[in-house]
Symmetry: C2
Subunit: 189 residues, 2 copies
């Protein structure tokens, strides 16, 4: 891959900046410390709205020009009004998004031009758990399956290797497969 | 709590239907088997779009009137264009939403009228992991903290107990704290 190809912005990824960022982080590893945040406000029933804006990273606070806001709700069959995906579906969105963003960066770094990347995610869940009707059943998904379709200017094996490398370096895949300590507190003020 | 109170729709939750649903599932546990799904399409660079619609549950397939769609992207500091939250932020949205939806249902079932429920979620992540610069650093969040503010017509202890019960029965909290098996495959067709 020539310098020209590397800097030409494969797949909409600014590869030169991507590599410059990697070099900067190698020099100053503390730049890699990030804190992401979300807030949520209950609306009515099972409907609530999540908002994302500010985050810390690369040594400083950042804010976006506008908030990102997303409703969640339960569907009527779960006594909601379907004003948004269920929270459990939001989780599937996060997983597919993480694998896809990573794949695009890896393809660009490897000089592979992507044509189309789609994926589907399925999660099996037995609601006897969250309904409190069977202590043997967990609350969360029992299994999640992701299937990718990738088209690009490389042989099938190299396209499949993009998916595998993205999986190996995915933040959301890591959290969902290995778990993370979560504290849930109530502010009394 | 009288029958009238139970059926009056606390907090926008149709409590009568909620209890009827619980009774139906006790009779026919197979109704509790659900499969949620999402799909994703790459747009450009780290920007991609997740879509949610159909799901299986309560013994049948369901579809919504319209798709729910959500963009994800990386911010400029991570060589993206900020066209949506990062996938890791989507995960935080899912967690807060799940705890909040559950809390509203539990409050309704306990006859507590909610006035305001807000929460904030913070997740610490060291990007040396996903950047492949330090094998000792995990890809995902190192820790996640959720803080709830709850106002309603009950004493502080009972409001705090809503948060605790929701945490105990949250699908997304369970997945994020305990992990779940995830397969990632590539379709060759």
């Amino acid at each position: 891959m020539s310098i020209e190809e590397m800097t030409s912005g494969h797949n909409g990824v600014d590869v030169a900046t991507l590599f410059a960022t990697l070099d900067a982080v190698k020099e100053q590893p503390q730049l890699a410390r990030f804190q992401f945040r979300a807030s949520n406000r209950w609306i009515s029933g099972t409907n609530n709205r999540g908002t994302v804006n500010g985050y810390y990273g690369a040594g400083q606070e950042h804010s976006r020009d506008a908030d990102f806001s997303f409703d969640a709700d339960h569907p009527p069959v779960l006594v909601g009004l379907d004003r948004g995906p269920t929270p459990a579906e939001h989780l599937l969105i996060a997983l597919a998004a993480c694998l896809t963003s990573g794949l695009a960066n890896i393809a660009a770094a490897r000089g592979i031009q992507l044509e189309e990347v789609t994926s589907t995610v399925e999660g099996d869940i037995n609601l006897l758990g969250i309904l409190g009707l069977d202590d043997e059943v967990r609350n969360g998904y029992e299994a999640i399956r992701v299937v990718f379709h990738v088209k690009g200017d490389a042989e099938a094996e190299k396209l499949a290797a993009l998916v595998e490398q993205s999986r190996r370096r995915s933040a959301v895949f890591d959290v969902i497969t290995h778990g993370v300590p979560v504290t849930v507190d109530v502010a009394t003020a």
